[in-house]
């Protein structure tokens, strides 16, 4: 279980995270929603060690992991994909996955081991299969579509064999059809790998359809937490974010 308590972070005068306390139970699928600038990405950055917290704690199964380095947090089993897909422009799709698998296997600093080894290629092929990206194996990452880059970004996070997977707006910039395909992919991976999955999302249809739990942020503070049903009927959330005429499926 991942839990954060009384987490705070400011940038100069901007309070991006304001005393946030949250829990993500093992194997759950939760979403974080809120208007732009609410502090969603900042929360991810604090959990994954990209930013240092001002105060508060991040705990993984009762172990304090606050302010560990990104690498150490990755080694604890938390990995993430990014709001703007964040990949390696000059490598092919397969090489990208092979590289991160190599890192997971703790072989990244082997000076004389050939990178193109059979074992690593097979491991990457398996992952390509899961991601349904086989057809793109040998394409340079910067030449694949935006949607595929997002999937690859998730694939990179997944290749590290995480317990907890954090996705920052996985469907951003996609058309409706592509979005639902992405949602399917996410749900499939969540079940297949028995992950604890946390994702940030703006599309309320998606959020209410697949989340077990929803956390609403506003101005850096937690406005509400609960099941989709609870959030749907929460007056404060309706007023502040969803709007009067919100009708979820």
């Amino acid at each position: 279980m991942l839990s954060i308590s009384n987490l705070c972070k400011s940038f100069g005068g901007v309070v991006a995270t304001n005393n946030v306390t949250l829990e993500f139970t093992e194997g759950s699928l939760s979403s974080i929603i809120g208007p732009n600038g609410a502090g969603k990405t900042t929360l991810f950055n604090l959990i994954t060690g990209k930013l240092k917290v001002d105060s508060g704690k991040v705990k993984l199964d009762d172990e304090d992991i606050t302010n560990l380095s990104t690498r150490n947090i990755v080694l604890k089993g938390i990995s993430r994909a990014f709001q703007i897909s964040n990949i390696f422009p000059s490598l092919t799709v397969k090489e990208t996955l092979m590289s991160s698998l190599m890192s997971k296997n703790n072989h990244a600093e082997k000076l004389f081991n050939p990178f193109h080894s059979k074992a690593l290629e097979e491991e990457a092929d398996e992952l390509l299969e899961i991601l349904e990206m086989k057809r793109l194996s040998n394409v340079i990452c910067s030449n694949i579509s935006h949607g595929d880059q997002k999937v690859l970004d998730i694939g990179l996070a997944l290749s590290l064999d995480p317990k907890i997977l954090m996705l920052d707006e996985p469907t951003a910039g996609m058309g409706p059809e592509e979005r639902w395909k992405m949602v399917e992919t996410i749900e499939r991976l969540w079940k297949l790998k028995k992950l604890t999955l946390i994702f940030i999302e703006h599309d309320m249809d998606i959020v209410f359809k697949i989340s077990q739990k929803i956390h609403v942020l506003r101005y850096g503070s937690l406005l509400a937490s609960g099941s989709p049903k609870e959030i749907k009927n929460n007056e404060e959330v309706i007023n502040a974010y969803l709007g009067e005429d919100f009708e979820a499926i």
Binding site: R71, F88, S99, M102, S103, K104, P114, S117
Partner: protein, 325 residues
């Protein structure tokens, strides 16, 4: 599978190259080709090792020649020292060779630990600053280094294992073998797991960190290895000229290495080596006709960089369709 079987192709090419270079040594009478090739071995290692930083890892250093100079000076000074020569006798050359590389390794680890934390222009300028520091030490420590005159008086080259480095053929063959071994080493590093960690860092350092790569450590190892290979270039030059000169540590020497890389191309493994050959040729030819070598080479480089917008090797390979865009 062992490293050997997987790098079989590269190792075979290396063996053939050594054979070919040795044949040149035996069958070409005129000294010019051998002398020219030795200068290519030396500056080629400087350019190729610099490209390990720039091309493999995306770390643009402006101070790489410092390690070339340090290797050359260390080697020269050891072989001028009476007590060193009496201690190691026939093994002097071999010991001096490894000790010089080792000294450069230590020095570059200290410099690297400070520099590789910085990115882009800050890294570039700090490496340049450390190079200028070494230059001023060389120039001002006259009693040890001979100051701006350079290390004069020649170096001892005691015969070992039947190899006599004062003999020009022996020297040439010795240098070819060392050169090819170093290039093979760079090749293997480029194709290894470590080489791909460097690519990750070059392409996207932040994401590499999120994949669990120890970015600082990997960059530092890369910096040290590249510096040690550069020092071998300096050692070859010291063997060749029987001295060492402060220009090697001047910033223009690093600039020249960057030119070599730009001429040949950053993304092709042997590009910088081709660049080295081109720049040395241009230099030699222009020197025959004019005293404005720098001006002419500058213009040629500008034409290549602005006209082709890539290295010559990259351009040719793309033109002929071998390399896809």
């Amino acid at each position: 599978m062992s490293t050997f079987t997987l790098f079989k192709k590269d190792i075979s090419i290396a063996l053939f190259s050594v054979l070919f270079l040795i044949l040149i040594g035996f069958f070409v009478e005129h000294p010019w080709p051998k002398d020219f090739l030795i200068s290519i071995f030396s500056f080629g290692l400087l350019a190729m090792s610099l490209n390990m930083l720039i091309g493999f890892a995306g770390m643009v250093s402006f101070g790489h020649a410092a390690f070339f100079a340090l290797g050359g000076y260390a080697f020269g000074l050891l072989l001028q020292s009476e007590s060193f020569l009496t201690n190691f006798g026939a093994l002097s050359i071999i010991v001096a060779f490894f000790v010089s590389i080792f000294i450069t390794g230590i020095y570059s680890a200290v410099i690297g630990a400070i520099c590789v934390r910085l990115n882009e222009i800050y890294f570039a300028f700090l490496t340049l600053a450390f190079q200028m520091f070494l230059y001023s030490v060389i120039v001002s420590w006259v009693s040890l280094t001979g100051g701006d005159q350079g290390l004069m008086g020649g170096i001892a080259r005691p015969v070992f294992l039947g190899i006599d480095l004062s003999n020009s053929l022996h020297r040439y063959i010795f240098c070819s073998v060392i050169f090819v071994i170093c290039i093979l080493l760079l090749r293997i590093l480029n194709k290894s797991n470590f080489g791909y960690s460097l690519r990750l860092i070059r392409d996207n350092q932040e994401r590499a960190e999120f994949l669990g790569i120890r970015v600082f450590r990997v960059k530092l190892i890369c910096f040290v290895i590249a510096s040690m290979v550069a020092s071998v270039g300096g050692i070859i030059m010291t063997l060749f000229t029987s001295g060492a000169y402060p220009e090697w540590a001047f910033w223009t020497q690093s600039g020249e290495a960057i030119f070599m890389i730009m001429l040949g191309g950053i993304s092709i493994f042997l590009g910088p080596l081709v660049g080295t050959v081109l720049l040395r040729l241009i230099n030699d030819v222009v020197q025959m006709y004019s005293s404005h070598t720098e001006l002419v080479t500058g213009i040629i480089i500008m034409i290549v960089v602005l006209g082709l917008r890539k290295g010559l090797v990259e351009y040719l390979l793309e033109k002929t369709g071998i390399l896809k865009k």
